[in-house]
């Protein structure tokens, strides 16, 4: 436990800025919105009152809250994905780049603990930061929507939880994929990942055209089966007063989260994680 704590602390000290990117971005947006509101008020404009004039049913307002929280969580999660990609490379290759790989490798730390802590920091770190940042956002938005429009406060939290879980899994998957390439390539792993996918794609196209084979596209597979998220909005018929549909939507959301496809994504993530760790272990320290 003492070793794990020290390993996490080291990763925290060396990746803090990247990990907290969503926090900085959110603070920046709050600051910008705050300034905009102050400027608007100083010029006699009351934006909140303008929005309040829109006459809709409570269901639609709650739906608005749901979508708003979903949207902000989604936006924050994009930054978290960037953060996970950068950390994935840095936890594996940062020590070598800073010429201190030997210091860290000369400690009596079992390899599963070392690689496990790096993987956990790369994946759980951005997911937790996303969770906290988006929870704060959802509380702010829910408070506003329920106070001003009378929307159901709890629905904002449900939206946050569902989006966070979905996007958390996505961060885990994308982060693990980049982790694998970070283990393969010590330098410019993200670029090399892109190049490798392009090379594979060209190879597949060439083989298909020469031999008449029908090998599927790798990038197509990655984008369609692995990296896409089913958030269920296509199924939603928005009406102005639709309390029942709202609950149906929420319930179907849980179904989408605890689904076989997500279980498969979890499996892919773990497979990428283990493969990356094993490749990392095979590296020589020169």
């Amino acid at each position: 436990m003492k070793q794990l704590k020290a390993l996490f602390k080291k990763e925290w000290h060396t990746n803090r800025f990247t990990l907290l990117l969503p926090v900085y971005a959110t603070l920046f947006i709050y600051l910008a919105v705050g300034i905009a509101i102050i400027v608007a008020w100083s010029q006699g404009v009351k934006p909140i009152m303008v929005m309040r004039d829109v006459e809709t049913g409570t269901g639609a307002k709650t739906m608005g809250l749901f979508i708003m929280v979903f949207g902000t969580t989604l936006m924050t999660s994009f930054i978290s994905v960037i953060s996970a990609i950068a950390i994935g490379d840095n936890v594996l290759n940062g020590d070598a780049r800073h010429k201190c790989e030997i210091l860290h490798s000369s400690q009596p730390v079992p390899f599963p603990l070392l690689s496990g802590s790096k993987f956990a920091f790369m994946s759980l770190g951005p997911i937790l930061v996303l969770g906290v940042v988006s929870l704060v956002n959802s509380m702010v938005i829910s408070t506003f929507f329920s106070a001003v429009y009378g929307a159901q406060f709890g629905m904002g939290l449900v939206s946050w939880l569902q989006t966070w879980l979905q996007m958390g899994l996505q961060i885990l998957l994308i982060g693990s994929f980049c982790w694998l390439f970070g283990a393969i390539f010590k330098q410019r792993s993200f670029l090399m990942m892109g190049l490798m996918i392009i090379v594979m794609e060209i190879l597949i196209l060439t083989l298909n055209s020469i031999f008449g084979w029908h090998i599927g596209s790798l990038s197509g597979f990655l984008l369609s089966k692995v990296l896409t998220i089913d958030l269920g909005f296509n199924d939603l018929a928005i009406t102005l007063d639709y309390k029942d549909q709202m609950w149906d939507f929420v319930n179907s959301g849980w179904g989408r989260i605890f689904s076989w496809s997500n279980l498969l994504k979890l499996g892919y993530s773990l497979a990428f994680g283990v493969a990356g760790a094993l490749i990392y272990r095979e590296r020589e320290l020169k």
Binding site: C100, Q107, V109
Partner: protein, 285 residues
Amino acid sequence: MSETIYQINNLTKHYGKFKALDAVNLKIGKGKIIGLLGKNGAGKSTLMRCMLGFLRHEGNVELYGGNVARRNHRIFENVAFIPDVSGLDDRLTVAQTIDYVRGVNSRWNEERAAQLFALSNLPLKKKVGKLSKGMKTKLYLLITLSLDVNMLLLDEPTLGLDIAFRKEFFNTILGEFFNEERSILISTHQVEEVEDLLQEIIIIDNGRIILHEEVEALKERYRVVSLPSDRSAEILAHSPKVTSKTLGFFSAVLDSKVEIPGATYGRVNLADIFLSVVGGSNETA
């Protein structure tokens, strides 16, 4: 505990087609300070990295009778390693570096660390990257000396440091680390500075161990033979690897058994022995 710390048999390491180590056989006993000498690229660092399980290799490396598997963390329960000055993590502060090693290394001795760091003037809040070379080496040294290990591997630890600091470095190691249970393997270019510390030397050249002997025995075995320059042929007849000319005299390191009438004899130092064994830039053969 076993008398032998490391036992190395037929250790061979290739980098592509280049043979960095060639069938190295070596035994390191306890209570020894051993110098590992060799020219640049002779295989010193590769040998140390194989001893630490950092590199894939052929042959067998045993630590206290157990095989040294690659990336085996248990090696570092017995062995500590100091590479050259750039080895610390410059993203951490001094305090964070100490805290990190304290946390991950089960051999950390809190009492000794407190004593060592109390005497140092290391700026705890400063980033390692902002420290001078000397400070970095001092930090690495104090961290390493705070570990309860029996074997210390030093790979050019004082490279690029001034003479005063180098002296302090080796004095600290001698005073704080060495005892009859512990051994030190030092790879360095500054042979003169460690000459008085060393009990054994290992000379490696082109990946092969060409000499492993006790320093005193070596100094008995070789001596510096000098003759007036016009009699240089008498020295050259013994095929010395390195010769020198000074103030009308011609000198070379030769076996102590060599007797030349009228010659003067002097005691050799390690640099002389090293050059006479591996040859130097003024190699004659």
